[in-house]
């Protein structure tokens, strides 16, 4: 196992060399800064070892935003490369690595952490609970996600990035055609992160089923809770499939089995089937909670109850069922019989029905309302027209015969960006602007927020609209270059310009976070949006025990009705009881680290060393099973003091911030 350092570290490319230096400098800077400001202890005891769902949620969001930066730079590099014909900014190998990591990172390390982060922060508050069902498991989920993300990200400087596409189709992704360890990173890093996600799914199914406060029946849950609940069920149903597929992939690549290879009787299309059996539900895993956020935000800023609540619930249940029945539409062109393609065409198109119902319900929620155009609401509004474009092109793609002409072209790429960006990223932005005050006690700046909004929305359309036409002109996805005779040049250039505007929009968000953290008004009360659901009944930012006494719910939009009918719970000293909370623990972060180390060794095919490191995992499990820490109690006096403090000043001198 003589290490050759020039192969261990990826060398020879100036872009990669620059990022290596950048990463090293950032690391040194961060370590020095933490030491200088003596923040190590704070970081460790307040964040790294926390089991508080709110802090875990915020850390998830941080991971998502940082990964967005990485995935976005990948996207910009791709757009830069294809802006003009026969460009040589990136070579084929580098381009292949860039689009592979762009896809994986955007779906699994941006969309998922941001959504799970918001779920973590909001769901327990919305259902009037003090925490999730399994707080320590929640922390473990988070640290496994971080571990997987870190492992996946180091691939481009250590060992080489995966380069077989985010779908990693076999036989290309096998050892026969992708030697080198790039695709090992894919298999192992996603396995670790996926384990975390699966546990999150289980955690939230139990949380929603068992932790709802008094009176909150299933049909009185806010829509975001509903969609997150259904999402968690899809996670539990589909992630095990991915776990199995990745395990088989790891065996093929690391131990020489033949599940998917072309030699030894392997079946390449088995991978495609397993991948999309997970991968298609995954699309709904990210889009459903986003739909839920939209519902809550639209009803808040239109000042109306969600229209057609029951049909909304039925729709998401329908979508979750259909999501498991459509995976073959990803390979209509594999030579299925006409009957098979017809069946999957119909199931796929059928998804448009519940989705259409939802769109009309949202529109009618706003009808007769009084729509306030906050930044959060603008994002929710922009969702409708943009997502409709993604939706109707989705129906066009679902028609198998027509798909023979669209498959694997830029038309497809345009379609799924029109679904995923308006359907996932816009709602996430809406959610960030909406819940930011609840998380940090101040609002994001509305003016910078509008810059963020307009740049991003215009940039998005300019980037992806041309791709529909390029696809219909025969431009294929994932091609690192094209000749001038194809005539793709001008539209490719427009698209590249759009991506720069898009990036400027994202930069505005980052600036907004920085600006607001420094300058935003801290005196905003506990309910700055005049909102409708329970999370706004607590202090802003939320005290660590969430609710002094658990609220009782009688209606949908519980908090709104409490406000209208003057039923906000008064603070009386004799009603307050001690609150039991779990203690911080180092086990989850320790598990993340050992999973990362043994995963790293497995990626490099140093199997014995990986096995030895895995003993650390068992040790962590063993330690946990002997851990009898029962948590701690928050004392009555402390609760009373905290509560009276924020309630007294709650709405005193609070300006209307959003007119």
């Amino acid at each position: 196992m003589g290490i050759k350092w020039d192969e261990f570290f990826v060398t020879g490319d100036p872009l990669i060399f620059a990022s290596q230096i950048g990463i090293a400098l950032t690391l040194v800077g961060a370590l020095a800064g933490l030491t200088y400001f003596k923040k190590w202890n704070y970081l460790w005891s307040e964040w790294f070892t926390t089991v508080d769902h709110k802090k875990i949620g915020i850390m998830y969001i941080l991971v998502g935003v940082v990964m967005f930066l990485r995935g976005g730079i990948d996207g910009l590099m791709m757009k830069g490369q294809t802006a003009v014909p026969e460009n040589d900014f990136l070579n084929a190998q580098h381009y292949n690595e860039v689009f592979t990591t762009h896809g994986v990172i955007m779906i699994l390390f941006v969309a998922m952490p941001l959504l799970i982060g918001l779920m973590n922060f909001v769901i327990p508050l919305q259902i009037g609970a003090r925490d999730v069902a399994f707080p320590q498991l929640n922390a473990l989920s988070f640290w496994l996600t971080v571990s997987g993300a870190a492992l996946f990200n180091i691939s481009f400087i250590i060992g080489g990035s995966p380069d077989a596409g985010w779908t990693s189709y076999f036989p290309l992704a096998g050892k026969e055609f992708s030697p080198g360890i790039g695709n090992n990173f894919y298999a192992v890093a996603l396995q670790i992160a996926g384990a975390g996600t699966l546990m999150t799914g289980i955690n939230f199914v139990v949380t929603v089923l068992k932790m709802r406060t008094k009176g909150m029946t299933l049909m009185k849950m806010p829509m975001f809770t509903w969609t997150s609940f259904i999402t968690s069920i899809i996670i539990v149903a589909s992630f095990p499939i991915f776990t199995v597929a990745l395990a088989l992939m790891t065996f093929d690549r690391t131990f020489g089995t033949h599940f998917f290879t072309i030699s030894g009787g392997g079946m390449d299309m088995l991978w495609a089937n397993l991948f999309w059996l997970w991968g298609h539900p995954e699309v709904y895993i990210v889009v459903l909670p986003a739909f839920g956020m939209l519902s809550d935000i639209i009803s808040t800023f239109a000042r109306k109850t969600l229209y057609g609540y029951k049909s909304m619930v039925i729709s998401i249940v329908m979508i979750s069922v259909l999501s498991m029945l459509v995976w073959v539409h990803h390979f209509f062109t594999m030579g299925n019989s006409a009957g098979v393609n017809s069946f999957f065409s119909i199931t796929t198109m059928a998804i448009a029905i519940p989705t259409g119902v939802k769109v009309f319900n949202w529109l009618f929620t706003m009808r007769k309302g009084r729509i306030k155009f906050t930044t959060a609401m603008l994002w929710a509004l922009a969702f409708v027209p943009n997502f409709v474009i993604g939706g109707v092109t989705g129906v066009m793609l679902a028609m198998a015969a027509a798909d023979y002409q669209y498959h694997n072209t830029l038309f497809l790429v345009a379609h799924f960006h029109y679904v995923l960006i308006p359907g996932v990223v816009f709602p996430i932005f809406a959610g960030l602007y909406f819940w930011w005050p609840k998380m940090f006690g101040y609002m994001l700046n509305e003016k910078i927020g509008k810059w963020h909004f307009w740049l991003f929305v215009v940039g998005f359309n300019v980037t992806f609209m041309p791709m529909f036409f390029l696809g219909l002109d025969g431009a294929v996805r994932r091609a690192y270059t094209y000749s001038a005779e194809t005539g793709f040049g001008p539209l490719m250039m427009i698209s590249a310009v759009g991506s720069v505007i898009l990036a400027a929009g994202f930069a505005a968000l980052v600036y907004n976070i920085y600006w607001s953290a420094r300058n935003a008004d801290r005196n905003i009360g506990n309910d700055p949006w005049d909102a409708r659901t329970l999370e706004w009944a607590t202090a802003t930012p939320v005290q660590h025990y969430n609710f002094a006494s658990l609220p009782e719910v009688t209606k949908l939009d519980a908090f709104w009705h409490m406000k209208k009918n003057n039923q906000l719970q008064p603070l009386s000293e004799d009603e307050i009881e001690e609150i039991h909370l779990p203690s911080n623990t180092w086990i989850p972060i320790y598990m993340g680290v050992v999973f990362g180390i043994s995963g790293f060794l497995l990626v490099f095919e140093w199997t014995i060393a990986a096995g030895v490191a895995a003993i650390g995992i068992l040790a962590g499990l063993a330690f946990r099973s002997f851990d009898y820490d029962e948590g701690f109690h928050v004392h009555k006096d402390e609760i009373f003091e905290t509560e009276s403090k924020w309630r007294k000043g709650a709405n005193k001198g609070v300006k209307n911030h959003v007119s």
Binding site: E7, Q93, K175, K304, F373, V392, M399, A401, Y480
Partner: protein, 341 residues
Amino acid sequence: MKKSKLFLVSLTSIMAVLLLSGCENNMVVFNPEGPIARQILELINFSIALMLLVTVVVFGLFGFIVWKYRERKDNLDYEPPEEHGSTVLEIIWTVIPILIIVALTIPTVKTIYAIDEIPKGYENKEPLVINVTSADWKWIFSYPEQGIETVNYVNIPEDRPIDFRLTSAGTMQSFWIPALAGQKYTMAKAETQLYLVADNPGSYVGKNTNFNGQGYAGMEFEVLSQTQKDFDKWIKDVKETAPKMTLEEYEKMLEPSHLGRKTFSNTHLEWVDHSDPHSKNYTNPEMYDRGHGWPGKIFEDKDNYKNKDGNNDHLNHENNEDMNHKESETEDSHGGDHSGH
């Protein structure tokens, strides 16, 4: 609110501009040159019309509602009514999408079945069988009846059904001639099948749409549709002038490389049929060097034709340079630098 209207206006104008520029581009999918592609286009046009209708209705309703119920200075004390839904309305907007989907389903299923067969009007003509084998990163076309083989171009007679039998020697590709027909995957040890007919003589672009590694972008071929007379003459010329390919040459050809056009007066089908599940493996892991990074191990494969020297754990730089060399010889302008950094 002005801004949301501005947004709609800018969005529609962007779309209009792009639509217009699209028309000038003569998008290939909208210019079919054969009955199969034409049938698909009819379906596409039908779906576009219906979807435009949906889009217009939703956009209109959206614009109207957002505009009419916006918060203004004069309605700040308006408190919206408590409204929970309307069963009738909800049923209406469940039924309408169902009807639209049904309207789309019928022609879709019909077209799926129709393009699986020889197109109408050509049933009486005997189809010309052409075996297509994709390899990294080239297309091999064998004419079993005529006993000839071409690489990276295929000549076909006009007005006669062509029966393509698709397979792959290694990775998975997708065989697509957008002007003539939709695409199908080519997979090793499996056979897929595609019919098409060309209306007129002409030259069309064919390509691979399924990503398969470093040489993917250059994996194009030309389809030349000729009159029957020209086609017969071309066959005759090939048989008289083209060289014969040897097994050794063929195996060399399957190695990862770009090749220009080649023509032979025999076919590889005499040695191997890649669609046969028991056919030999033609994998060359040591030649797929990434150009950087940790090499990992490569497994021995007892069925493989080359993989017997047990020396595959290390990169074979000689082969690699060989590949670069070959590329510079081809006339393919898409080749570029495929050998890493």
